[in-house]
């Protein structure tokens, strides 16, 4: 046992030694320790360097509010985790941790030089300094800032751990397992309410569980003993789920909450067995009781950040819970009674302690208790300086003036090895405000407390501003019964004895004889914001607390200002001369403590990240060496390389084959919507730009769909299957949006229409066969069918059968070739495809992917919505005036086609581009200009599609160009990084303008 382990407690098992490593050195702790308590038991206070000035910093607290003791855990490149609070890490055998933000070591840190030049790096330093010269930014400033910024190291390999999500519903959720949370849980669960109690520590009991003081008794027992018995009773209740090691991350509206459960983080690495590491609970609760407690406030004085300066109640917890004394020569610096409990506890164990109290007196029982034990108290005094580089060794104190605004008298130096400070308590109102709750300001102890407004959510205990034991028990009992509407009498006659605090004095910034400019009085320890920074921000004109916060970065570190926000507010209020309550607070946002990315994404990683849709023919594509492309959620064959063919060669080969003989494409992913109803034709008239009433049964028609603003939204071929029955196809990516848009119009604008829409995308597979030999292949597959132009004309459809299976054949073409699409029920898709391949062998049928499809349609000048259009193109811009009906009175988007903006002649319009060098292929997205000499160069358009066409043996491109319609034959320039490419505007149809090939 080390000399700092002075006390045996039941929470730490001193028979079980646990060895761990910190900053490369081996230490021992015990089962039940946190990393922080184990380090303190070895006398280690210095655990990190501050962010900006690299000042030595030590463990300050014992919980989630810890600003200084943040560590890097685990060395493995895939498991390492930065910014973990040593106060929250449960010690396990073999734990490896290291301090952050120091180089080469925490004891000797080069960055510490920042401390000495700190007068030159005030608030806003970065904004003011790294402005000039401009050329320094990229090579000097940015790399320098990046090197010095950030806390800790991210893992460099994927996280191998397993994370889980769980959805739960309950009647009552209680957040916080301290005394008020336990009373609330018991009342709820005893009255048949399904209750969940969550607690972020590994055991219940909060700060009462280590309270063993004559002045705090419940039913004549020490409050800790009383609570122990309550916890035993609680664990017997059926309706109650207790989740320890579970911290609330977010409290959203309608009582929807997220909590993170740590499942294996406290186990030695070899005992984790690949189990789930963390589980994110998604809780929908009927009623929520917040019992998150309060955080002790530090005090703001000169050099208040040295290792060994800690929060008073934390010093008590280390002593009474972990059995560790943080020092042997303690000084307590306080403005309230609660720190006297620490003094009594120390003194009772024979450890030296003195008290500096800024108040003039206090006559409460606990103060009398301390005096009786012989604790020396310096009343009406303040600390003006502290000393000791890597750990505090002495302090200097002075008396306060009558009004507390100044110091008077002589300086008095006191030696110490631990300074426990207490500036009172701040209710943890984070959850309340996250849920949308408001706060009231209570003058007498300068706290923000929750305003109760919601009938499904209350705050109890010290997070509600009840700090004394008697208030906590009685108010919690009363409020919970009222809130849950139950009549439970168990806690009605609880007798509580506690010391009452009678005297208060709060001074946000303690006065000093040293001028303010020379003091280092820290407000935010992690981000190194001082009083000087806040005052500078105010002088520079920042008024809103939100602006001061961002300019000085107060409260913006990983601890989110749990210890600093109130002091910043108080000092701003004092400086500006307004009441603190009128300033309001900064916004508390989730998460309350940092969440791992793993717990946020849960199982949605790797192939579960998003839905993957595959056609029924997918397996064949894989077996035939297809490379796939993601189109929305679909995996589509991109190209089918033979041997070691690259994309270019494969596409050239596939494209040539499709035009010379036959090609086959899996078109199953196109969106398919089945439209039925007596008003189906009228409906199509309203949603497409062209007319549909006269389309004969068995005929197909291409349609263009606009948004109400006149811009092209989607396109596709729709087939009339029967009098009141159509099959619409949409683009692959647009299918879901088109369906919901059509539903929207049907349900909200035209409910009188008798039309029913059904998505049948997944119901049918489609093989599209094109090329001069496609008719021969179809004839072989369907020997009974007449495929002559007369019997089966272009843009028509017929039913057919393959081996008794029904299918639909559409003669439609997206390539400009003679082309047929066979639709069959999806389960037969693969066998249909294999049959086509088998029969097509003698015609060298070639499977082609999306890249070849894009090339073939570009040769023919067919657009792809989303590639050649971008939501700003009208049909007129696309030179597709022919598809816009002049006769129809109305259709979606019609009125917008002659708004003043859409009839402008200098809009970007779709044209073809031919490069002067036929082998030069333009880059898609490249800008187009007409004059490179006139500065600034005007961009008049961009390339939307570009390919080398093997069938025309030259480069072709589609582009949108301002006033492009009138530019046919004009020379333009596509400027690239090293050269200008000369191009000529052409017609957008490059191949077979006469449409001969579709009748081949």
């Amino acid at each position: 046992m080390t000399k700092f382990r002075v006390n045996k407690t039941k929470h730490v098992d001193q028979t079980k030694t646990v060895s761990f490593n910190f900053d490369g050195k081996s230490y021992h702790g015990f089962d039940g320790d946190t990393l922080a308590s184990a380090l303190l038991s070895n006398g280690v206070h210095l655990v990190g360097r501050s962010f900006k000035y690299h000042r030595p910093r030590g463990i300050m607290s014992c919980g989630s509010e810890e600003p200084n003791a943040i560590c890097q855990i685990n060395e493995d490149t895939d498991l390492t985790e930065p910014n973990v609070r040593a106060t929250e890490i449960e010690l396990y055998e073999g734990l490896k941790a290291s301090s952050q933000n120091c180089w080469p070591s925490v004891n000797f840190d080069i960055g510490g030089i920042n401390n000495f030049i700190s007068p030159f790096i005030p608030a806003g330093f970065y904004y003011k300094t790294f402005m000039w010269p401009k050329s320094f930014w990229k090579k000097i400033y940015e790399p320098l800032i990046r090197w010095s910024a950030g806390l800790g190291k991210s893992p460099t390999k994927p996280d191998p751990e397993l994370y889980d999500h769980k959805h739960v519903h309950c009647d009552v959720l209680i957040i916080g397992g301290g005394i008020s949370g336990i009373i609330a849980s018991k009342i709820a669960a005893k009255n048949n309410l399904r209750t969940i109690l969550i607690e972020d520590k590994n055991i219940l009991g909060g700060s009462t569980i280590f309270q063993k003081n004559e002045n705090y008794k419940i039913n004549n027992k020490y409050s800790s003993e009383w609570l122990d018995e309550e916890i035993v009773e609680l664990q017997k209740l059926d309706n109650l789920t207790i989740k320890t090691r579970t911290s609330l991350a977010a409290y959203h509206s309608y009582n929807y909450l997220l909590a993170k459960e740590n499942i294996s983080d406290h186990l030695p690495l070899d005992k984790r067995n690949g189990d789930i590491r963390q589980r994110l609970w998604k809780i929908r609760a009927d009623k929520v009781l917040v019992a998150t407690g309060a955080i002790e406030r530090p005090l703001v004085f000169n050099n208040n950040d040295r290792p060994g300066i800690m929060l008073a109640n934390s010093v008590k917890k280390y002593l009474d819970f972990y059995g560790v004394s943080c020092g042997f020569n303690n000084v307590i610096f306080t403005n309230n009674d609660s720190a006297y409990e620490t003094a009594v506890s120390l003194k009772e164990k024979g450890i030296s302690v003195e008290i500096i109290d800024i108040r003039k007196k206090s006559n409460s029982k606990i103060v009398k208790n301390a005096e009786k034990l012989g604790v020396k108290i310096y009343w009406n005094s303040t600390i003006v300086n502290t000393f000791g580089h890597r750990k505090i060794n002495s302090i200097e104190i002075m008396n306060l003036s009558e009004d507390g605004s100044n110091v008077v008298g002589d300086k008095n130096r006191i030696n110490c090895d631990c300074l426990a400070v207490s500036g009172g308590w701040t209710p943890m109102v984070h959850m309340h405000t996250q849920s949308g709750g408001k706060l009231d300001f209570r003058e007498n102890d300068q706290t923000f407390i929750p305003t109760e407004i919601d009938e499904n959510h209350i705050n109890v205990g010290s997070c509600n501003g009840d700090f004394e034991l008697e208030e906590i028990i009685n108010n919690t009992n009363k409020k919970v019964k009222n809130f849950l509407k139950v009549s439970e009498t168990e806690f009605d006659n609880t007798s509580v004895l506690n010391s009452k605090e009678l005297d208060k004095r709060n001074i946000w910034l303690l006065p000093n004889y040293i001028s303010e400019g020379k003091c280092k009085s820290f407000i935010d320890f992690q981000n190194d914001s001082t009083v000087k920074d806040i005052k500078l921000a105010l002088r520079e004109g920042f008024k809103s607390i939100e602006h001061v916060k961002r300019y000085t970065t107060t409260g913006m570190a990983t601890d989110q200002g749990k210890l600093s926000n109130m002091h910043a507010l108080g000092i701003i209020a004092d400086t500006v001369g307004v009441k603190m309550g009128t300033l309001g607070t900064t916004t508390f946002r989730p998460p309350f403590t940092p969440l791992t990315f793993g717990s946020i994404v849960g199982r949605s990683v790797g192939k579960f990240f998003d839905i993957i849709r595959k056609t029924s023919i997918h397996e064949w594509h894989s077996q035939n060496n297809a490379k796939f492309e993601n189109v929305g959620q679909w995996k589509r064959p991109w190209y089918y390389p033979i041997n070691d063919e690259g994309l270019h060669d494969a596409v050239q080969r596939e494209s040539k084959a499709a035009r010379d003989s036959a090609g086959i494409l899996d078109a199953s992913t196109l969106g398919k919507i089945d439209i039925q109803g007596t008003d189906a034709s009228e409906f199509l008239n309203r949603v497409y730009t062209n007319a549909w009433s006269k389309l004969g049964i068995g005929k197909c028609r291409y349609g263009l769909m606009l948004n109400e603003d006149g811009m092209v939204y989607d396109d596709g071929v729709t087939t009339r299957l029967g009098e009141n029955h159509y099959l619409m196809t949409t683009t692959t990516g647009g299918a879901a949006n088109v369906l919901s848009k059509l539903e929207d119009y049907l349900q909200t604008e035209w409910p009188e229409l008798d039309v029913y829409l059904t998505s049948v995308t997944d119901h049918y597979s489609t093989a599209s066969i094109c090329g001069p030999n496609s008719k021969k292949i179809l004839t072989k597959i369907f020997p009974d069918k007449d495929f002559s132009d007369e019997a089966f004309p272009h843009m028509s459809y017929q039913n057919a059968k393959i081996d008794e299976i029904n299918c639909r054949i559409m003669r439609i073409s997206f390539t400009g070739e003679l082309s047929y699409e066979i639709n069959i029920e999806s389960k037969y898709g693969k066998s249909l495809w294999e049959k086509c391949i088998e029969v097509g062998k003698e015609f060298k049928i070639t499977p082609y992917g999306t890249e070849t499809m894009h090339l073939l349609r570009a040769e023919k000048g067919f657009i792809i919505v989303g590639q050649d259009t971008d939501g700003t193109m009208t049909p007129i811009d696309l030179q597709m005036d022919w598809i816009v009906s002049k006769k129809k009175y109305d259709f979606i988007g019609k009125r917008s086609l002659y708004r003043s903006d859409t009839i402008r002649e200098d809009r970007k319009q779709l044209v073809g581009l031919l490069t002067d060098d036929p082998n030069e292929v333009l880059e898609e997205g490249a800008q187009i200009v007409s004059d490179v000499n006139k500065k600034p160069i005007e961009m008049i358009g961009h390339v939307t599609s570009s390919y080398f066409s093997p069938n025309l043996n030259k480069s072709i491109a589609l582009a949108v160009v301002k006033s492009g319609k009138k530019m046919n034959g004009q020379k333009l320039i596509v400027p690239m990084e090293n050269k200008n490419i000369n191009v000529t505007v052409s017609d957008s149809v490059f191949l077979d303008k006469e449409n001969k090939r579709i009748y081949a």
Binding site: S253, Y256, E743
Partner: protein
Amino acid sequence: MFLINCPYCGERDQSEFSCGGEAHIVRPKQPTELSDNQWAEYLFMRKNIKGVQFERWNHAHGCRKWFNMVRDTSNDKIHAVYKMGEKPPVE
């Protein structure tokens, strides 16, 4: 993450729904007779108020039905839910 009482399915999580913007904007029956300004008023102008707002919602991952909802945008309290074509509540 609020709960929405779909008039066809009952109470469901917000993640099942999508919002379709301001409600009770009727598509003009005779668009061709409107001036550019009148058409623009229909096409582009939407209210975005802090307070009680009438909205269109779609139970996108449910029954796919559109309906109307009265929501206070300042605190997400839902005051009423009613079917398309029904009259909005007076209050």
